[in-house]
Symmetry: D4
Subunit: 254 residues, 8 copies
């Protein structure tokens, strides 16, 4: 609702081209539409062909199914995160076409063709096997959000030759999500190797002074590789959202 | 050094097209060159026409000048961060063309034409006036790294109408850096309004239970707006590096 | 026991109007009565027609029933907080007229007409659906303490248009309780919009760096909206008590 | 801007009673005015005859004077908090009518008659002499915000007879601000004695395991007296704001 | 092994009254006996007629029984702390004379007459009913260690009249153990009322910002009543040990 | 004011032996006197011939002198703690008879004969030379509170032979104050050697992960020697108060 | 791949002694081999005759068996750590020759003669019986890594005579691992007695302010005995790895 | 004092070869000598030709000089750590032969030939230039303790090619001290490359969420390279002590 559009509307009222009632309708929602303009754009952009997302933890299978049924009716894809195995079994009965990933604990119902929307590739790198669930949540989420996704696993800093042998993957990615627990050092190493955006995800993997991911979180925030950014502990979903925001910058596939 | 290049080199040795000594030279550095390939690319990319960066805190004016003189000889731009006022006075005497920003505590010596290299605009948003030094460090850094930069200040969450009145700036940015202290809530609000990458910078502004930026840091890590990423407390420089990594994704200006 | 009352008593002893034994009785409890005067007033005020309150956690259904039976005999209302579902089932068998709220985990037995005592309205605002149990504990408690209560839910800061669309409710409340987890930013936004007392309740909703509500707690304590006050994490009950103390300031309904 | 007002405006445009340009002006700001309606109300309410407030820490005397001069021109009162002694000397030269409180570090310039606006009395209670600066900041602030203020000092929990001897003051207050460092126990004792709102202010007084006010803060958040609310460490200003929000509930003086 | 005893031994060797071998035996253990002299004294003193103590947590009923059987053979009393209900049932079958306290989770087997050994009385004061298990562990332990013990419960700081009504008990105790959770303020109040040693025991009672007893611990360490000492969170046993060390100072009963 | 005393008073009123006015006077203060009975006792007991105590930190030399002059007029001793060297110089000019201890930063003005009041000896043990200031504060305080005091220094756990060589001092003390920084292990060792009360004082000595005394504090709270109690970090004064409470249990010197 | 080896290879290519394909093979892996040279050495050294190590926590018995079966095929020993009792039962059925230690929760399958490889002895010292599981994990690991291992248990600092009576074991060890919970003071005492390397392992034994091993960890990091090093809480495995790194320095058995 | 020595002493008493008084003298100190046997050995071993060590922080130049003068009289070397520049100037005047290292803040007075005593080399690796002071403290200390020392600086994980280019130094060291601030990742990388003992030293380098070295400390404790051990933050001296303990295991130079 820029000034010129407002002027047109008012002139249409003056000239009778728009009734007072119609103008009232348009104007009544103006504040919210205006505030929401970016938001709505954003939503349209993020959600066009994308799944609705549901945080599965703390909701019963029954609650999930009733919400998902409503969502499904709109024709879009559905992503449920943090779904434990037993719940997934019930969801699978309700949504036979659903795809459950027991590692990442994600449940996806696709009702649209799953084609990458953005040009760039999101690379999800994982330090140790224990970090895999968080990495998988990130890669499943990124995929359903329209990104081409690759995975590179078990390349922790105590055996860097494994990472260096895959340097090609690193240099070809548009965005890199690095998932690591314990001391959380991998993002620093990768951030020092590549110029692309690096999103660090600390995991709660470890014990004792790992303090449920605090050690990894602090390590990543203090990365000596400039320009590494960080999301919450175990937040594979959030990292994928951030990667999508970034990947979108590079434009859509033709 | 992909397989075909290696084969060519060896065949050149076999056929005498390359002496053993020359081949030895090329191969001796191969491991590092190979490891470093992305890194070198990265450096070339980041540093082409960009300033060298120097962390000014804990170095004397004399130390800074001697390092800067060496840097200046290479012909590139120089950025020194965290330069207190007294040091800046000394630096200015040594580098008359240098530009000191007393708010952001940056000292920049430009030896190259300061034109934006990347297409997108980096918007630096600042919650309160006390957060300005960190915001300024971010915007100066982003500018010397080749980004078009805009600033939006004093739009804290306790008076959101100021933010909404500038929603145009928000929606036109390619990347948004949000600098906030105290409860650090602004990135959540902005992350909910726009689909572009949002980099949150907690500041040490506040007292008591602000715990030198911990409150803002935790708030930002727990943002309810998905896909907000976070850098270290007061790390305006790091946020600008991350923004540059992202802005680069959108391509160069023609 | 002001000076004049004391003098009357002593003169009654002197003149024989009061026996030494009677005077002794009156005076023996004097210290406590005097200390307790405000307290007793307070209790009388808070409890007149109000429920007795019982913290249900850590007590068995049998223990609760025996205490509640004693309470019920006094004719007042009874509020039990933190009652898990299984316990509630047992309580319901014992107190058929009891009202269990599975969301807020409250069990209320009313023996008095549930009419609002104070003029003002307590508005309970809730950031996300996961914060609802704490919000409901607050609203049930506030209601049984004689307040008119309204609820406004799911108006988190990542979608502020939902909050703004209900600005009428905000401006008509006498006291606002704001319940939020994660980064706990909602009280700052609301505190910036209205001049009435705002009580912030951090919840333990979130994971990782939410540290069981610490992030929200710190955020609220550092609110940039002046005059927001805070209660303990998940303490919906305490917020309702504080709201009642405040609402009482505005006077009783006629 | 309720529906009827909108309809009138549009009809005025239609009938020519309002030009398009004038209507455009009114409507262009509508979203913000609408969002801001409560805020503006709030500001009007809070600021009518009240001082503008300036946080003095981190600003030079010169900066303060230039902002204050601009403020003074509007004719309202001015409150500057956290003003160190040396700065105060400079301010006093610039504003001869200014009143500096060296204990509370407040500087007040009154340009309006300093009469209480709200009916109720705000009582500021202080545990120890070291807590006095924070208590004084609260009482000065509360007074310039239109409250009748009383002070009760040095009534720490290790000598409760001093508190009990002043129980009259406690029971006559409309709101009580309780300022305490070290273990922060005083709000619990007072909250158990009176039914009025109690705002607890932890101070950074203490050493060692006081952890700069953390001990007092945690103690107050866990108060066993229901309905005590808490503000940030050393935040006497915030407590006075909260007290004003509450005291306003009881209505204005005639 | 004081100087005179050493001289006698050596002279006995010289005069042949003691063989070299016998002297060697006595001297070989001398270092440990000497180091241990206080310790052994101490043990003798503490254990004369006192129970052996066993920490029950993390040991199976079978393990406990086998250790207790060995202990019982020595004829002394036995105290087992932290015994869950199911284990206690098994222990009771093995030691029919054993006395299980389900509240304090202690299991005591007395084989000696349970008479107080020390003159003074240990008073165990408890802030709230939830603190009772820790208080009971303290009082059972103190009793089996030879102390006369009294209990005073539910005298939290939010209702101090209950405490003041029992001031006699306070002033007659030789040592006072004060058990409190939440804000842990009770020891400050009691420490301000009496001149006797006050041992504060923080409990893990509370939720949210109680941080499992941290709030109470910090509060007690920062008590404004001088000379209050503190033991570990929930450490009723340790408080009783400290009380015994102190009560012993006052001498034995005749 | 026990029942019989009350009865006597009332009967004296009845019989005219006491005028109403006199009785009123006695009874008017009764509540506070009654509450305060233990307190007053306590104060009388603690203060008879003892110094008044003043916390010197944060008070100017002028403020101290004016308070001390008032105190001195009452004829008792005066103890000022935490007095920096420059302030001490000024105090010495004002109180020529004052005794400044530069190590413990205490300033004592004695107006009474400095004889021990209690029978037992307080032993102050100190782990390292850096802990001496806190130890000295404890020993000076204990001495002015009427205790016989001995000191044992530099007996840290990394060279235990120094401690064992003084085991006699340990076993003859009535109370032992153990002052230690860094890992704070000394109280455990001493608590294992002697049966007397052991008061542990953590100091802020150390760096890095000593976290200003937190490491020592936690170590002492978790002492494996049962019955060790702890006071705040660097609180030598508090330890001496606790020692006096305990030493008093053993009775006065004849 | 030192310069001379590289030169030989290239000359062999030139002279035809090595085909291009063969040279390519050797060179293609060169970067990794070169980077890995130390690593591979290290692995060879550590693994020659040593078990493969598997972290058992978070893996099902089935997963463990399938990995172990693959490992066993290589002929080496296998060590699985953190194996709960039920899993061990399943493993034992699959690997009849396996040796389960229920205390240390280790499962070892030996396929090689279990002879010590290094000359020195690793002594594992344990403060209390509750620390035994961690100590046992350390000693089992050290043994399967080729170390001669001795154990010394239950020598906590509250009864040091037990430690001193075994001073011979201390002085004969090449490396000492000290396992302790609670205040973690034992490493300081032992570090003060012996000149050999001391590795401190904090355990999560304790409750309350032990904060799951934090107290012991901080205590050990602040040890007043110079040169004590520390590993993560409960990390008996890591301590054994460190001890092996050190013991290797002393050379192999003949 | 082994059994045979004791037997000889007693027989000398018996045969009159030793007077009772002489024997008494020898035996009176026996316990301490015996306890101290390892310690004394240790000291002899560590101090033979080694400097006495003095912690310079918190001591005046005058105090240092008086202690050093006494030390110097014994003829050994002297090491003073943490000596600020101004103090060093004074020390240099007193000890003209002293060697001050302004980077490591060490002051060394050598009175013995500075030859390496142990065979192995201690390599001190340093992540960034800001970590140099701590690294230098470690290398100076290690050198004066008789170790051959090499330094490798500025090889942080964000540019690993610099580290790999020096892999030779890594593989030839007997012990490696790794000094790093910020995220503290370097020890993990080095621990993964070499089989020798790795001692990690976190530094307080960094800002914000580095929390004065906490981030680096936690990172190192959670290193994914097994067998890395850690010392206190900034404790270069302690790391050198630990390295000496280890290097000693490899034997002396011939």
């Amino acid at each position: 609702m820029n000034p010129s559009r407002l002027r047109h509307l008012l002139q249409a009222v003056k000239t009778g081209g728009l009734s007072v009632t119609e103008a009232e309708c348009q104007l009544r929602d103006l504040p919210f539409e205006d505030i929401g303009v970016a938001l709505v754009d954003h939503h349209r952009e993020l959600r066009q062909g994308f799944p609705e997302v549901l945080f599965g933890e703390g909701k019963s299978a029954e609650q999930l199914i009733s919400i998902m049924t409503a969502m499904a009716a709109k024709g879009g894809d559905i992503l449920v995160t943090r779904v434990a195995g037993e719940k997934a079994a019930v969801l699978t009965q309700a949504f036979a076409s659903g795809d459950y990933d027991p590692l990442g604990r994600t449940f996806v119902v696709r009702q649209q063709a799953p084609e990458p929307r953005w040009k760039g590739t999101v690379l999800v790198v994982c330090a140790g096997t224990s970090d895999l669930p968080v990495a998988r949540e990130a890669s499943v989420t990124a995929r359903v959000f329209g990104n081409r996704v690759e995975e590179l696993t078990d390349v922790g800093v105590a055996g860097l030759h494994r990472l260096f042998s895959r340097s090609g993957m690193l240099s070809q990615a548009a965005v890199i999500i690095v998932v690591a627990g314990m001391e959380g050092a991998l993002p620093s190493v990768i951030g020092g190797l590549v110029p692309v955006p690096v999103i660090a995800v600390p995991t709660s993997v470890g014990y004792g002074a790992a303090f449920n991911g605090l050690a990894a979180l602090l390590g990543m925030l203090n990365s000596c590789a400039s320009g590494v950014t960080v999301v919450n502990i175990d937040n594979g979903f959030g990292a994928a959202c951030a990667a999508t925001r970034i990947n979108r910058t590079g434009g859509e596939t033709q």
